[in-house]
Symmetry: D2
Subunit: 374 residues, 4 copies
């Protein structure tokens, strides 16, 4: 199997998220990175490209230039990873989609709902695939949790508790990553709620199989001078009478990437935490709690299918992220024969749902946490 030729927009060598996408693309040997517009300044873009071993002529000064040039090459990229600040997602993705190049795009979908709608049109008009990296959905034990719920192992669902707590923005700082995330023009109106709340929302819906129908959000900006929220408390009402709570915070001192999900039904409960992703706690009602492990006795086929090493040899964030890339490679190969099937990969719908979630949170909070329908 030949590797898929991949380009990247954003993700210069200093950028954290670009590095993540590259490791994810490489881990299973499914992609070669061959082109890039890796920075918003052409010079930096080329320096990053050289450091990554890209051919000089494929280090581009802008995504527009890259889309045009690569589409014209015989050996041009088949797919592009977009790992820029949020406001660039939409136009960059559209530039590749309209040339038939598949897009793997970081979340959230865009910075604004208008951009999202424009991107929606671009996706619908293209034969190429659009994949959104809600990477936490590709952890093996998350896939297993989803399957267990779909199979009824928790009975009728009742309550969903989801948290995403970090502390890296607990004080004002000037890192590049912090900077654009605090700027509504580039990040969108949501701060923590857009950056990590949207992951929590996506994960809760993915695992429960239920959409959020209404929410009431109380968002705060605790750090003086911050233009977007850095903490949010959200009451959730899912389809089917299921209730929940979402807490996202970037000022919760003591948390690194504390994404946790607990789901309760009338027949059982599940508990999972991103910082120990190989472990899923399952309590069938009236029985002892069980520790299900990826690759261990508790793993189902869904978990084993995206597992690389035996249980007890921990897999982590990059392996989960790589699962998305490797499934993307499979979808891209199928797309050569006309398939548009994304399987479990998140795409446009999940991106739009995320934008509605962010918008609803901001709207509700501005109205003193009244209920808003998504």
């Amino acid at each position: 199997m030949e590797r898929i030729r991949l380009g990247m927009v954003g993700g210069g060598i200093d950028a954290n998220i670009g590095r993540v996408h590259r490791h994810a693309a490489w881990l299973d040997g499914a992609f070669d990175l061959v082109a890039g517009a890796l920075s918003s300044t052409p010079e930096k873009s080329r320096a990053s490209g050289r450091a990554l071993g890209l051919a000089a002529e494929r280090c581009y000064g802008s995504y527009a230039e890259m889309a045009e040039a690569e589409a014209a090459r015989e050996d041009g990229i088949e797919a592009v990873a977009i790992v820029t600040p949020n406001h660039v997602h939409g136009p960059a993705a559209a530039a590749f989609l309209e040339r038939g190049i598949h897009v793997i795009c970081d979340k959230p979908l865009t910075a604004t709902m208008e951009q999202a709608q424009a991107l929606e049109r671009a996706v619908r008009a293209s034969q190429a695939l659009f994949i959104l990296t809600h990477n936490y959905t590709a952890y093996p034990m998350i896939r297993q949790a989803r399957e267990m719920i779909a199979a009824g192992e928790l009975g009728a669902l009742r309550v969903v508790q989801v948290h995403y707590a970090q502390d890296w923005l607990a004080r004002a700082g000037d890192s590049k990553q912090a900077e654009w995330r605090g700027d509504p023009a580039r990040a969108g109106l949501g701060g923590a709620v857009g950056d990590i709340g949207t992951h929590a929302h996506n994960l809760a819906c993915f695992v429960s199989g239920l959409p959020v129908e209404r929410l009431a959000a109380d968002l705060q900006a605790f750090v003086p001078g911050r233009a977007v929220d850095d903490n949010g408390h959200v009451l959730l009402r899912f389809a089917g009478g299921v209730r929940g709570m979402l807490w996202c915070s970037q000022v919760a001192v003591g948390h690194e990437n504390g994404l946790s999900l607990k789901i309760y039904g009338d027949a059982g409960g599940l508990d999972w935490s991103q910082e120990e992703p190989d472990r899923l706690w399952f309590t069938p009602y009236g029985q002892p709690k069980r520790l299900l492990t990826r690759g261990g006795a508790g793993a189902t086929a869904a978990a084993r299918a995206i597992s690389r090493v035996p249980g007890g040899h921990p897999e982590g964030y990059l392996e989960g992220f790589a699962n998305l890339y490797t499934e993307a490679a499979t979808a891209i190969r199928a797309a050569r024969h006309g398939s548009r099937d994304l399987g479990l990969l998140p795409g446009l719908e999940e991106g739009l749902a995320g934008m509605r979630f962010i918008t609803a949170c901001v709207t509700s909070s501005a109205q003193d946490a009244t209920w808003v329908t998504l």
Copy 2:
């Protein structure tokens, strides 16, 4: 030091909470149980009394009888523990208070706000002490957490997350303990919110040092036929701009007594869980997380003062509960000389705050989770 003569209302030998109060009274050798109206049926009351070694003439058929008879004895009880269903708390407590007998009463204060107001009058009219067993406030590491916050170790507080999750009411049952808790006439309007939500509320306020000013509550009764809530999600606004969330549930399958409290300020974060009460996790901003243990290197004077065994020899629920009783014994001895000082013991004020919390939750939820001021 002679032991204090104690009576008990409710708490027959089958009753869980009466047993807890007895162990707590005995552990430090500070009380003798000498009289009881241990059941609502006189016959059972006497059988329970005999099993506990009470003299036959001090096994009473009702609290009223007991209050009168004990007040008349030279060697009558100095204090009474009230461990009945909620609707009996108020009148029973009043019967002893008006005879100058100190009252140690289980929570919540009463079943209704009217009863609470009547009890408030009785407390204010009496020279005797009124102590409410919000027992979780007497865990050593909770006392330490409170002290650390008061000393500024967390900086300016921002966020409080408090949960109390159980699963023993996940299905309809007919245990005696479940039965009265589901009856608004005996338990009050709150279900989970009154039984355990009020503990969570009390603990959050005790440790943070802040009152809840406004709340928005979304309560549910998931189990068919249940007349009170069994799950509740509550947005909290504390004094001083601190925000929070409270979740209480008696249908969260997989939790036994999952009371957890996390508090974050601009200089640090604390994390404590009742199921491992000897441990307090403290993260000073920008430093590694630390494990503070009761009796260990991390313990402050506040924790050591109410600690019985060395660190690593776990203390638990009964030790925490006994701390209340032993502090009550000290307060009672001081009261002989005119003191009314309760120190850190919860009393009428905490009971009234709890009633306002329950009432606000029920009111807010009935109005679709609008904000209610406490």
Copy 3:
């Protein structure tokens, strides 16, 4: 049920272990402490007695005086707790046993094997009971582990790993408790191996149901000037071909009372740690690990029988210790009618086995860790 009249030898108000015995005796309301020879100096003994509310005439200057005087009283003590340094255990116990007073004695049995043999004669000559407080055997989940193994839930046993790690003697100190433990004349030849290794040995045998037949020990004294071992590594060969390892250390920085036991058979494995005593991890071969909790869904009758509060309300060290006392009370009441049955309580045999263990460790280590038969 009237309380049993208890005396105490050793355990002045500053002494940690005496305090533990008192809480344990009081917790379930089964004993009254009415007499004491609480210190080796008569004056301190009386001061401690007063502080504990003992009648002045029952605060004795020596155990010998106490044994004689109490045996002569109509309302004399029925049982005595001996909580002195090890070298006093034997003669003090004998003084009470020969007067028909039951003895509850701290471990190890004595300081020397000669003392142990003398005590053995005293126990065999007396109608009174002799109970040794190997308290860890009375944790509910330890009882359950023993029952599960006896019932074959682990299949044929293979391996036993037991550790007891502390750090309170990691440096030379001069606390009273440290001082006598480092003096072979008072503690015996074993240091860590006698103080905590013997607990580990006892627990491993109690739960597995197997005696240690041979051992090879490598003992060390790391702290300069220490006359007894403060760390020991021991290879164990149990009856039936079961192999194991015991590690005891009082210089393992970071451990408070890290007593842990892991047992493996061909059908399953168990894992328990004293610092979380309510939890027992059980893995049936080929199945997910299960968390069995005291009072929870995983608890068997053996655990529930000695459980006071619901699961998730943690019980700890004092509750476990109190289980021994309350079972002792039951045995003492039965002894009034001629019974000598100790049930699961540890007694003389366990004490002698402990002495053989200590002696074998010291002997083996002196011979460069050659095998010694117990």
Copy 4:
């Protein structure tokens, strides 16, 4: 930077360890796999090669054929990964080393001491590098632990406890991986002690900075019919008077890959477990325990240098393994200019030390656990 051309001996698509090496080689984009002798049967080797996208002419029937052909190609491999059963390591490595091709070899070094000596000669005669994948040494927090000890943060070392517990061989089975490991001709005389005990030994020495000087081992084969040990208890004496214990087991039901290391000195203690590799627990004497995390506040430069994603986004087994490969790539690039420096990479010396360890364990156990000098 161009990728290094890599070949592989062993590691057909069904083989677990070959897959691990490939992911490790790919994760950072430092290697291309271009040739292989992937199976001991030529046909399977070619099928595996095709599935991995190798050119048909570079799918070889044997390592000898591959060494010769690749050495003759202009674009031949620069390095080879050897992932066969143990008895093939030596001759295969020699075949490449003598042609100047760098070798990355799985552990243990060889099946027998004779093979080890032959390989030693081949390594010493070659200009090419020889790297042994004791992969656990490349976890960031292990590197940090080593650095902390070297810097004196634990003071003078005293005790080292190291365990490696698995349960996948608790019963007789016929998986290919189990089969050769139970055959002394292919695995060597050590079973568990060779397969995982040698990892534990290597890790303890790497982190402590100390060699094991003497050991006494008690090895067992619990599963009927097994020709090699499946459980081993080993007393360790390190240089400088440091004592320790090593336990390795492949029959410890409930453990997946339970490799844990605890090291204690007079100034502090460290505790690390492979199943949570991003966490290192550090207790400075007399202070609270601290949680040091990879990428978090507790991480030192040594940990950050081999860290890919922020703290709280877990890295695992493959990331650790990839650290070895990426450091190997650096060493290989430097070797083009004459360097032979392996930095912290394990190589021949570590391999020989491992062989001495295995041999000493088997010898000691055969002599009833007498001390053997390494």
